[in-house]
């Protein structure tokens, strides 16, 4: 005698949350199939405070109109930590998100979250990955105390751990990174770039600020420096990476090697069905600092991937090698293949 197996729970279509550093990238993301775009103001209130990047208030208003006109949402990252005693710029950023009718704001600092919850009760609050809330107790605290609606999970959990977190915090929404640069440190806590440059990624908004980066071509290849420290040397035939200390190649015991992490990009296309089954509400693509071409290619690939899974079809075979850091890809902590 056989026992009837219970039917698997129906899959919930995840929202595709895509990066945009400029108005042109916002349009590219939406035209390529983004459900939602996340952007930042042109100042230190967001963690991609790079030269020539981000949105003025006028551009943000126009971007939100463009997105809403096409059924897409806009989230605004105000995800740096206000300078001690000078929170006004951050408070103004949150107020502007409210008045510009952004669909939500992504916050990291607990003081700023408290301010937003008290002064902007109708503004949807998301907890940034920079807050590093990775377990049900931490997540419940933010939800119960401040009404956080969605948590962006740090890139340290396996798929199985994500499923477990989701089962214990339901119906709170979770968002996970599915593609792009990897931050291997405790997010929002890393001080490596601050040590080398005097500027904090978590307060000033730029890890490895471009003003402190130098590349020098020599007959052997290219040398990258950050704040005067040599952090890598790439041979002419070797793909280069970002000039971050966590992906620097250092000499220890007479051997040059990547002590923390190799230049590589997260790519979860192959495990999308697992992440969807884990009950994740939204998939986030990293890369507000990248160009329109990157945004279009990655958003299109993940649009096709998610649609294929939801339609019960096999995953599309899409090669994203050409836009990855160091020409390498990994599923990172989701599979922890190094263990």
């Amino acid at each position: 005698m056989t026992t009837a197996q219970p039917a698997p729970a129906p899959l919930t279509r995840p929202e595709l949350v895509c990066p945009a550093g400029t108005p042109a990238a916002l349009k590219s993301a939406i035209d390529a199939g983004a459900d939602c775009v996340y952007i930042g103001f042109r100042d230190e209130t967001n963690a991609r405070n790079f030269p020539g990047l981000n949105f003025s208030r006028r551009e943000m208003a126009e971007g939100i109109d463009y997105a809403h006109g096409r059924g897409a949402k806009v989230l605004v990252a105000v995800n740096t930590f206000p300078r001690a005693g000078r929170p006004e710029v951050w408070h103004q950023a949150v107020a502007d998100c409210d008045s510009l009718k952004a669909d939500g704001v992504i916050l990291a600092d607990i003081g700023l979250i408290d301010h937003a919850a008290r002064h902007h009760p109708n503004l949807r609050l998301h907890l940034s990955v920079q807050a590093a809330a990775s377990n049900p107790d931490a997540i419940r605290f933010y939800v119960e105390r401040y009404g956080i609606k969605r948590v962006v999970l740090p890139r340290v959990l396996t798929v199985q751990e994500i499923a477990e977190v989701n089962s214990r915090i339901a119906p709170i929404e979770t968002e996970v990174f599915v593609f792009g640069g990897l931050c291997v440190m405790a997010e929002g806590r890393c001080a490596l770039s601050s040590y080398a440059t005097g500027q904090s990624p978590n307060i000033n908004g730029a890890c490895s600020p471009a003003c402190d980066v130098r590349y020098t071509e020599t007959s052997e290849g290219i040398t990258s420096e950050l704040g005067g420290f040599t952090i890598n040397k790439f041979a002419h035939t070797e793909p280069a990476g970002y000039p971050t200390l966590c992906k620097g190649r250092f000499i220890a015991n007479d051997k040059a090697s990547y002590l923390f992490e190799e230049p590589t990009s997260l790519n979860t296309l192959a495990i999308l069905p697992d992440l969807i089954r884990a009950g994740v509400t939204a998939f986030k693509i990293e890369g507000r600092q990248r160009g329109r071409a990157y945004v279009s290619a990655v958003v299109q690939a993940f649009r096709d991937g998610v649609d294929a899974v939801m339609a019960g079809k096999s995953l599309p075979d899409i090669d994203l090698d050409r836009i990855t850091e160091g020409g390498k890809q990994t599923t990172g902590a989701y599979e922890k293949a190094w263990r």
């Binding site: 550093g21 400029t22 108005p23 042109a24 990238a25 349009k27 590219s28 790079f50 030269p51 020539g52 990047l53 600020p209 471009a210 003003c211 980066v213 130098r214 590349y215 020098t216 071509e217 020599t218 007959s219 290219i222 420096e225 790439f234 002419h236 793909p239 280069a240 990476g241 970002y242 230049p263 600092q289 990248r290 160009g291 329109r292 071409a293 990157y294 290619a297 050409r322 836009i323 990855t324 850091e325 160091g326 020409g327």
Partner: protein
């Protein structure tokens, strides 16, 4: 030597064998001043259609950038001062004159300007090399990428009644360049085929020797003889 400056006689990017390289050779006798009106027109068009570029570059007004199409016999000097921006074509530029230089083949630079390729990806794969002040280069890259430039559309919009013939000519020119590029690639492959064959044979031999060496080393570590 300034920080980030290319050291010695290093050629930052090798020009690819392309129609542009051949065109560049043909343009060698031409004085850059004769090409200046083209660049004046391009700047005028960019200012009118994409004012946000200079707006995003406002913090770098006093930092001129050299754009070096490595397959052409001249370079372009961009002075992003919003009150008096300039795009000047020159035979060469002393690195001391500029804050930074961007080296790359013309087709790559144009694709980057139109947002068809990602600047970081070009850098990772070394098809683009930057020299000097990284900050101003990042700002320029972001400003241009964010402008949504489409050269054929932008130029057409400036030409009034000549827009349609221009589009037709531009489309035909792009097709023709593509065909020439294909032919050149065929020619290049044929020319280097004997060298590639030799190289492949050498690589196979090296791989075989490496495998033999590995066996010998392993045996030596055990104190025996292979």
């Amino acid at each position: 030597m300034r920080p980030g400056q290319v050291r010695g006689n290093v050629k930052p990017v090798q020009p690819p064998f392309s129609p542009v390289l051949l065109l560049g050779m043909a343009l060698k006798p031409v004085r850059p001043a004769l090409l200046q009106p083209v660049f004046d027109g391009v700047l005028k068009m960019l200012r009118r259609r994409h004012p946000d570029i200079l707006d995003r570059m406002a913090d770098y007004a006093s930092k001129p950038v050299c754009i070096n199409p490595v397959d052409l016999p001249f370079v372009i000097l961009l002075d992003p001062n919003p009150d008096d921006p300039r795009l000047t074509v020159r035979r060469e530029i002393d690195p001391q004159e500029v804050a930074a230089t961007i080296h790359g083949p013309l087709d790559v630079l144009l694709a980057l300007a139109e947002g068809k390729v990602d600047g970081d990806a070009l850098f990772f794969t070394r098809r683009l090399v930057i020299e000097g002040d990284t900050e101003v280069v990042v700002a320029l890259r972001n400003a241009i990428d964010g402008a949504g430039i489409d050269l054929i559309n932008d130029i057409s919009a400036e030409l009034g009644p000549l827009a349609r013939p221009f589009r037709t000519c531009a489309s035909a020119a792009v097709d023709l360049l593509g065909r020439i590029q294909d032919d050149i690639e065929t020619l290049r492959t044929a020319l280097i085929a004997p060298a590639v064959k030799d190289s492949n044979a050498h690589n196979a031999r090296i791989t075989q020797l490496e495998a033999e060496l590995k066996v010998l080393r392993k045996a030596a570590r055990r104190g025996g003889v292979a």
